[in-house]
Symmetry: C2
Subunit: 424 residues, 2 copies
């Protein structure tokens, strides 16, 4: 079997079932691709030293033989974990795998290695560059996972989002990135940053693979595209809405609207008032207050090793009092509930900007998560659709947002849109 | 200084400030008490081998010189962690302390040791017995922390609640036990069981110490009793309400009502419909589904070492599909919001049963958390008040429940009640 980089997971399973592929074919083509691309992209913190054993008992599992990348804040028995610290925190081997790693292995997946992340999943970048232009950031904090998928090194990789760490790198790297409803996947063994925000998600080059993975890990029924989007109401509203879009973002949003309408969806006016706008600031308060608590031990012992951005955030968080934190949590809970009504009565999904523009030049920063902060605080599922490109030719996505626990509906809508595109 | 076992934290700070006590006096009296009581009670999994150093820089901190017990599912650099497994999981030393441990040390607290817990904080008991009657359970899963505080071995100890693991042992052991609003304290470094339920809380013999600790750890303003409870509306409603109370529980609830009324509170009728009753079953679904995910790695490698109750729960959880889990999470979110309206319009707090009776005889089980499950799923703050005793003479508490993020109000009401009692 040749290069599988454009194959879907389901197509590979079919090829296996029909004898057109062997269980380690995808692994082998991925390792070849990594040899070619890794010297430039630098997506990996650690790679599997040997070809894995793949038990035939797992042959019927939906992720059988699928090579996967794991963000290096997720603990593993077989690989070291460094949490993006460059080594000031370093565990050669965890006592047990993060829950996610075992859940993946139980579904037949093969762990290719650990992907580069920013320092403790905050803003100090790792070594990874954008596969579409090595002079640009891949985004963060799930930098290596997004870049590895974009470069064809693995079909599937896992990351986390606390502010905009899934959707932004997905947009910058031109891949699908899915942050499910908060609490959908267990974060056991995943380094905490801000526990009421931290959400495990995944990247893939095909929407179908996003769906397959969702069903495999949650035991949700299989998700398939419908004929069209007739009857689907799409509200267009980015949070915050007061920012002026760059031309690239404006065009990407208009482009997405046109595609959605063409597939049969109805665009409906949607107004979210200034309390929703304020969620961007509330998210910053929650993130800083919780990070100051959660990283108290690292800060007390290792602050001299930490990057200045992380130290600044923790010190900001230590200065935030309980009443201010509570106010932010109450605002989020209240609007979570109100937004449920919006989704139940006005729109099925919301179309919003994923990022402020294409991946910025330079590797010294990972870009701005501002368009993701409010949605993360609301705990709603978000999906980056890699539909467009900026004037520079770099990828640029938009995100679809649904109500909490409507992940299957969101994925169905996105699948339908992509299926319509593919048949044009 | 003599035995401090009846001193409050604030009284000790005053004694220190006035030169009537020395910084390690409380530590020393606790170690003496532990020598006396530990052979029988068996509250500790690991104890500090030496007298700690206490930096004078921390002299002004609210927990200066306060000895503290830490449940052995909370990771520590200076003590081993075994998660109640008897050793099939064993870490001689964690890479970093759990966030909570550092937050306590920063406030001047001294870590006395690790307290006994049930297996991975589920139902298989550890070695601890009830300090009031060694033939009875202390409750679980925070068994050792509740027993150590009840036996006067430490004034303060930390535990967690996923079903009823704070309130039930507090009731059985006759101490205050406080489970704050979900997400109030970071669970970083605390073993996950069911992440949307797991809540860090603490035990003390004085309500004032519960309050002091709350303010010290969250930076909330200091909480003090008011003159009386005039204007405070108390609804009386245990979940589930269909169970028939044992006589002891009935009497404890009537006794608490009488005390609340005597302090000036108004008892108001409160009806929570059958959807609230169903939360008890929803909690079981969430707990099983999430535990099956969260403990996937332990189960895959160590199920042969695990107790049958834990294996049964995980297998039950593995059989629950996503639609059923989602239904439970949606029910909880919806009633969380409705309950907010109940608290905003009808009652300030709810008085409810803490447990089905006094601590049961025998050490082979830890009692039934049924009266805690719904409140834990709702994420509301709960406080066990150790006000009563059963016919056997064993302690029996009741719990006060408030709206989410009304922890300070709840603690103010409880403080006022206890202050009125003390001045009678």
């Amino acid at each position: 079997m040749n290069d599988n980089s454009d194959m879907t997971i389901n197509a590979y399973q079919a090829a296996l079932a029909e004898g057109r592929a062997k269980p380690l074919d995808w692994w082998n083509s991925c390792t070849t691709r990594i040899e070619q691309r890794e010297p430039e992209v630098q997506a990996w913190e650690a790679l599997s030293a040997e070809t894995p054993k793949l038990s035939g008992d797992l042959r019927d599992k939906p992720l059988y033989g699928v090579p996967v990348g794991i963000k290096d804040i997720i603990e593993t028995e077989d690989f070291p974990t460094r949490w993006g610290t460059g080594g000031y925190l370093h565990s050669p081997s965890s006592l047990v795998n993060a829950a996610l790693v075992t859940l993946l292995k139980e579904q037949g997946a093969l762990i290719m290695g650990k992907t580069v992340t920013t320092e403790l999943a905050y803003f100090t970048p790792g070594k990874t560059c954008n596969p579409h232009d090595p002079s640009r950031t891949p985004g963060g904090s799930s930098s290596g996972s997004a870049a590895a998928v974009a470069a064809g090194m693995v079909p599937l990789a896992f990351g986390t989002q606390t502010a905009g760490s899934m959707i932004r790198p997905a947009s910058y790297c031109g891949v699908f990135g899915f942050k499910p409803t908060f609490d959908t996947l267990s974060a056991a063994g995943v380094k905490s940053f801000a526990p009421s925000l931290d959400t495990v998600g995944w990247f893939a080059r095909h929407i179908e693979d996003i769906c397959t993975t969702f069903s495999a890990l949650t035991r949700a029924p299989r998700i398939a595209p419908r004929d069209d989007l007739v009857g689907v109401r799409v509200g267009v509203h980015s949070l915050p809405s007061a920012l002026t879009f760059e031309d690239d973002v404006e065009r990407a949003l208009l482009d997405a609207q046109a595609r959605l309408e063409k597939a049969g969806a109805e665009l409906v006016p949607l107004a979210l008032d200034e309390r929703y706008e304020a969620l961007v600031e509330q998210q910053k308060v929650v993130m800083a207050y919780e990070a100051a608590q959660t990283l108290a031990s690292e800060y007390s012992r290792l602050s001299a090793c930490m990057g200045p951005k992380l130290v600044e955030l923790i010190e900001e968080g230590r200065a935030i009092g309980y009443p201010r934190y509570r106010e932010a949590m109450l605002a989020a809970a209240s609007l979570q509930q109100e937004l449920t009504t919006v989704f139940e009565t006005q729109v099925d999904v919301i179309l919003a900007a994923s990022a402020t523009g294409v991946a910025p030049k330079g590797l010294e920063a990972t870009g701005d998560p501002v368009y993701c902060r409010a949605w993360t605080l609301l705990g709603v599922p978000c999906l980056n659709l890699p539909l467009s490109h900026g004037k520079s030719g770099m990828p640029l996505g938009v995100q679809l947002v649904a109500n909490r626990w409507q992940d299957d509906r969101l994925l169905e809508i996105a699948s339908t849109l992509m299926a319509k595109e593919a048949t044009e």
